[in-house]
Subunit: 408 residues, 4 copies
């Protein structure tokens, strides 16, 4: 069904060199109209300049949108309710932005009557999968064009030549050229791959990092913050109510200033290879610690354990690009079901890369000092109950041991 | 079956006030002989003085043993192969020591012809469960005596009175009296509970911590270390081969000096209540990070993900006291099956509370720069394969979307 | 807190000998008023006669209720949405009735101002756990009285003596005396335990079974039925709309007539022992098969697989008595999230113990013959996609094999 | 890397029309030598005739092997130790044969110096995935040729034309032409797909089934059998020791005679579509029931529950073709760890489609009638322990209920 002609394509357009080339290449290769879509997800660069660039490339339908609030409220926060971590360490900063972009690409395709979407992700990475699974799940008959899997502009030289022969202003590329890394950024994180990082034995160089100072360079005095949770989400910082993206923006700032959130890992891509990535996730690192802390006093034990057992799979789904899948929704339903009691306050101390828990309190706290106390509990707990509890839990083990199974 | 007379009981004896009282109380209450068992698990206090104390209490059979090597090799290391963390944060320092003590209590009971064992754990905690499940699993007909669940010496005053009337030298208690906390220590960690910690909103005071300096007080210059793994276990540090307990001891030292491994959590006890605990686990914190790093380059993706999914249950089993259970052995078999390829070297930088990954390398590395590279890969990976991969993974989603299920 | 006096107790009263004795024993032992609660859950015996019996025992507050509809709609059906089976075979007929009884006991206690509840379950079984966990979860300060764990009327003789000395008419017992088995029944099943069944090598005798004929005695001609599903529940049989309990009642009838639903197992009780039980679940056996069949064409693959992975834990929760727990609600949320598309029709053939699937169809079917066909599919599926799919799924295995890991 | 010339290819050759065409097509298309490999997996057809056919096609290296014993011992039996069922019903008869064929293809390629393997599976099914994942996992540089994904002989007519122009005797096809179904068979099952089965509402016709009589046509007298287990595997039937494939062969015979093991399902293929399949698995159906029965008295509760939770994933791995993966080996290690105690005897009654459990006994039985009994147990179990057991298990629920969380 993909062999039919393409009439109009919606491109996820950053305004950078690569996607500018793609604009021209799409028009030329498919003889189709190109609609550009540029989103502000908090990547820290102006998106408005993309308008002039797109216009200069002859684009007539240009979408530029500030999606920061929906991004944090409807994607980042639900994910953090699950304490989501991929492979023990990665906070999924890139992964969680893709479903939103896929959704907008499809919606814009519907609005503009486009029959295809396109993106600038390469054929080796996870992002192509995330964009395309999302698009197919939301608009099953959509045509997806992934130029990096199709064209032969596989080197910087070929790209530059293409720019020259197609009148694409090369100063677009200036910013990127400064960095030897492949980078991605949004309100949740900034990532670095490629270049010297391809040797996993080599330490990342200090100049690479952009959002945080090193722990060494962070202030010698700690910063204390209070986070207020409602339904598992942060709604105020130091008593000041904030909207979701303001929360994350604020935490990125104080986290980055205190050297928090750097990560250097080798991860397993869905497409089958290992890759080394470095990430800065200052706000996310703080949120994860704080969310676990508020859950520790408000969540039932078995709810918490069930969440911990489901989490790796939930993380894998998001990493692999299955946000828009029924199984992700099933897990989300279970997670969200547990969160209405996750209310209260967490106090943290930020210091040179450390997120140190200071205290947690909640009107919904299940912590009951009168039961847990080492002091006299006035009858709140009958220690003799423990004997029966242990005896019956041991029964199956004793019966088995009686049959000689002590070191099986 | 518990109503029969007790002839001889093996007591887990620390040499402290409480267990000294228990020696007398057992002899008096049950009219039985008492055998004491005192183990060096690396708690940082001499165990030999327990001999004189036990003798002074009239004990004739006294076992004092250095179990540090078996503790780390046969309990701590297998647990770390699973990257085990309870409730997202706790490294199970107390939990993992109990199965070994239970085993020795039972073995000594068998050697000495004792028909019972006894311990000094209270009726509110997890340790009673861990001791007793272990004992029952290994010696099903054993009688277990838990004085704290039976006697009425439930206050410091009553205990002191008992000492006086029974000629128990009260200077035993001196050390303990200095601390307002209930503490436990072994090579993996030291823990603090009770006292002012019973308010989870209150910050732990700096004087409480014993094994680590605060990040603030740690050196301004980082410490670099190289850890060598074989079969998932650390066998050398900075190129120097070490036995398991030497590894952990060394990492505790450098970790503690660099402010690493402090933890302050509210955890869910198996007996049904929440409790607040503070822990210092300098070496364990380093080991966990390093083990994940070496696994990141040597372990297959799906093996790693399966381990991550099984881990919470494995952690729960150990926390709850089911080390000596067939289900723990099943999980251990799966985990160990994955570890023979977990070999190589990890370089870390320790700095003011941070364990920063510097590099990882391995003869068994599955990281293949020639495939992952952003540069030309000389045909190692065919980007066009990605299209089919995505298309078939999307097929079920597309069919469902074609039936209108896009936002179900 | 349990040592205070009991003023009024609500008893789960069957009208049989045992619970009649309990009425007297409670009044005598605790000097309290007794409220009886008798429910029609479809056990197949009249409940109204319990009124006169209770009155004869001096009970003033008597609750007799027909709970069949809520039982099936709010407990049995939600459980079947998960294809719930305990230990591979048991359909949880007894377990699923307990949460409803616990709920009503607590609600009646609240209505009548009672401070305690009581039940006639023994101290060895699962039912005590299910009743009491439910009661505590719904009314945490309730006092629970379990006479079988307290009294010394542990033999039939002692019970009969008690009846004689307390003027309890022994003809109550007639029915029970006919059966050498401990039995329980409700709309979902009837169960048999004890007696000669305590030898798991011995075959259950034909006379034991009450709800079904043997496959041998079933008709030589099959019965066909059509079941209509909406949202995962059966709403009509052979095109005739029915309420939930009518559905189950009807299926029990046709199932039992065709020799369907007998089960003979050794199961693991929550209290730690194995026990042998025989069950007749004609309707449930049909429902399970039919539900899987309608799901097979309407449910997404990964949703179905996730449900299969969660099911054993969900079954365990219900078996162990944790219906009224937050973790059960979490799982239920996930399961229910998947069921709104589970609509359509299943045709079955019932024949001498067999439930044979004849056909399934649905407006929500995801089965697409044009894709699956062995014939020409007119381009609905591109076979060449399979190569890329396989290649990328194989990539991690190839890299590992390249390092020599082919038979690790 | 696949663009190089192929010198020699090992083909999984059935001797039928399709793979005979493939022999010619490979030689013609790739100009390479073809080695044929034909295995007796108990499919019920002679394999020796394949020799003459291959010779007639000009094949010089011909492998014909009886793999029945290794198939059952090393693949079927390990799978049944896990009580493996895919999507609640399918016993994986086709899936489990593929890893063995993949292994032999690769080994023969190594022996004969072949650089490629080929198979006759289509591009829509699971078998291509299973063959190829296995091959890549065992010989990473192997080239795989899947003619059905490459050629244009996509209709019966084109195939017949090809035969004619290439002198392939069409009588090969006679057998196949008789059946309107796509079939596959080995000792574990025979499967049917395609044709009228592509309508999931239509009942399979009686003439389709080949290995079993219908329940209606089965004898009116039941057949009793005794199965002896050692380490989870059946080693004797009715007291007569048998090798693994003899066990399965015998059970197929008595099962089929008694109308046992027919299945009609819609399953979810790994490549993303649903397909309808009918299966006859007489012996496997008996083995599954019997294995659960012997486990029910010999296996620890938590081991059994862990197995039940891991099973769906294990089944999925085998269905999807990941037998030769490290994660399958991890799960197998856990499963096998549990099986050394699974010894004993199971007695079954086979009757018109029913596998009825009659009894189970074992020297390793954990069933202890003296504990489970409704009669006096002479102190083996203290009913009062149950109170403490329940109280502590309820504690978290009571604390939560005390905070108002009774119907959250």
């Amino acid at each position: 069904m993909n062999e039919s002609a393409v009439k109009k394509v919606v491109l996820a357009y950053s305004g950078g060199l690569d996607t500018s080339v793609i604009v021209k290449w799409l028009a030329e290769t498919y003889g189709c109209e190109v609609v550009t879509f540029t989103a502000d997800l908090g990547q820290g660069e102006e998106v408005e300049p993309a308008r002039a660039k797109a216009q200069a490339l002859g684009v007539k339908e240009i979408y530029i949108e500030d999606l920061r609030e929906t991004f944090v409220r409807d994607y980042v926060f639900p994910m953090f309710r699950a304490n989501t971590v991929y492979e023990g360490e990665y906070l999924l900063g890139t992964s969680i932005a893709r479903p939103l972009i896929a959704r907008r690409l499809v919606e814009i395709a519907n609005e503009t009557g486009a029959d295809a979407i396109a993106h600038g992700a390469t054929g080796k990475g996870n992002d192509q999968v995330r964009f395309e699974l999302g698009a197919y799940a939301l608009k099953p008959a959509v045509r997806v064009i992934a130029p990096w899997r199709e064209w032969d502009l596989n080197s910087r030289e070929k790209l530059m030549n293409y720019c020259e022969t197609h009148d694409i202003p090369v100063d677009y590329a200036k910013n990127k050229k400064k960095s030897p890394y492949s980078m991605d950024a949004n309100l949740l994180h900034i990532s670095y791959e490629g270049g010297v990082l391809e040797d996993p034995w080599g330490e990342a160089e200090e100049e690479m990092w952009r959002w945080s100072v090193s722990p060494e360079a962070a202030p010698d005095t700690p910063t204390y913050i209070d986070l207020t949770f409602e339904g598992g989400d942060i709604v105020a910082i130091d008593g000041r109510p904030m909207r979701p993206h303001e929360v994350l923006s604020h935490l990125n700032k104080v986290g980055g200033e205190n050297g928090i959130g750097r990560l250097d890992i080798v991860e397993n891509r869905y497409v089958g290879m290992k890759s080394r990535g470095c990430y800065e996730t200052p706000g996310g690192t703080i949120m994860l610690r704080a969310h676990r802390a508020i859950e520790s006093i408000t969540l039932d034990r078995e709810s918490a354990h069930l969440k911990d057992e489901l989490m790796p799979r939930y993380a894998e789904l998001i990493y692999n690009g299955y946000w828009w899948s029924p199984e992700r929704r099933m897990l989300q339903a279970a997670i969200d079901q547990s969160q209405h009691v996750v209310n209260g306050e967490v106090r943290l101390k930020l210091y040179k890369g450390n997120v140190i828990l200071v205290g947690r309190q909640s009107p919904d706290s299940l912590f009951d000092a009168s039961i847990a106390t080492f002091e006299d509990d006035a009858g709140a707990y009958d220690q003799k109950d423990a004997e029966g509890f242990i005896k019956l839990n041991a029964l199956r083990l004793r019966i088995a041991a009686g049959k000689g199974r002590t070191h099986e």
